[in-house]
Amino acid sequence: MNNAQHLWWEQSKSELALFVQLRKAGAAQCHLLHYLQMATEKLSKAYVWRSGKAPPKSHTGFVRFLKALLDRRPAELGFISRALGFARPEDLERWVSRVQPLAYALQNIAPAEAQNGANPEYPWPHEAPAHCPATHVFPLWVSLADEGQGRKLILFIEKAILRFDVYA
């Protein structure tokens, strides 16, 4: 792991820790999504730094991270899969395909990507606010919290961040 990766990883771990605390405290869905999205964005950027080149400044990246992970050499993919809780690389590959709609929804919920729609920070639409994040029920959070695939994604994110040093 190079120094840039280490710095982005530290930020990702800190945001994940805050997500966990907010969830325990019963915070509004918007805050949970905000910190979960930010933690995955930092994780993605920490990973992209493995090439030694700076990632783009955009918020997107979590799906790209998942794809880049699967592009690793087969020998490396074996231990990466195990580190992330999958018995075999094929299991990780299949799961990534299935969870991808949720992963896209999470990366695209950042205000800059949300196209003046539902986002975890600002009332929307900007010109004539009709919704407030703090009181909004986010279908994405309902999926993450109440559906098996969503809960698995949160567990995966936690493992991917906490065990980043294994595969960085």
């Binding site: 990973y47 783009p56 799906v63 395909s97 196209q115």
Partner: protein, 107 residues
């Protein structure tokens, strides 16, 4: 994955994986011309990314070090951005060209 580095074969392998795991990707364009011999350049047309996404290729960090070390650079674009690139209204990254490109789509 091919056992030794063959750029064309490796490009097809990566493209197959990306099309297989990412339903947002509609088509991949492999741009071998004017790229270094160990560099694979993709333009991936993705219907699930926002228009605001930067037009900046990402190094996937696929195979660093070793005798088969190579680079995979992916430029994610929306369908509208792809049309603008083809029409010459949106530039590709410096040094990239569509001349001699190969299209890899879903079967």
């Amino acid at each position: 994955m091919p056992s030794t580095f063959d750029r064309d074969a490796m490009a097809k392998w990566y493209a197959g994986r990306h099309l297989g795991t990412d339903s947002g990707v509609e088509e991949i364009h492999f741009l071998p011309r004017e790229s270094p011999p160990t560099e694979i350049r993709f333009v991936e047309i993705n219907r699930l990314i926002p228009e605001t996404t930067d037009l900046e290729p990402i190094d996937f960090g696929v195979d660093i070090g070793g005798s088969d070390a190579h680079t995979l650079l992916v430029l994610d674009v929306t369908p509208a951005q792809w049309e603008a690139i083809r029409a010459g209204r949106l530039p590709l990254p410096s040094g990239w060209t569509l001349d001699g490109s190969e299209t890899i789509g879903r079967r």
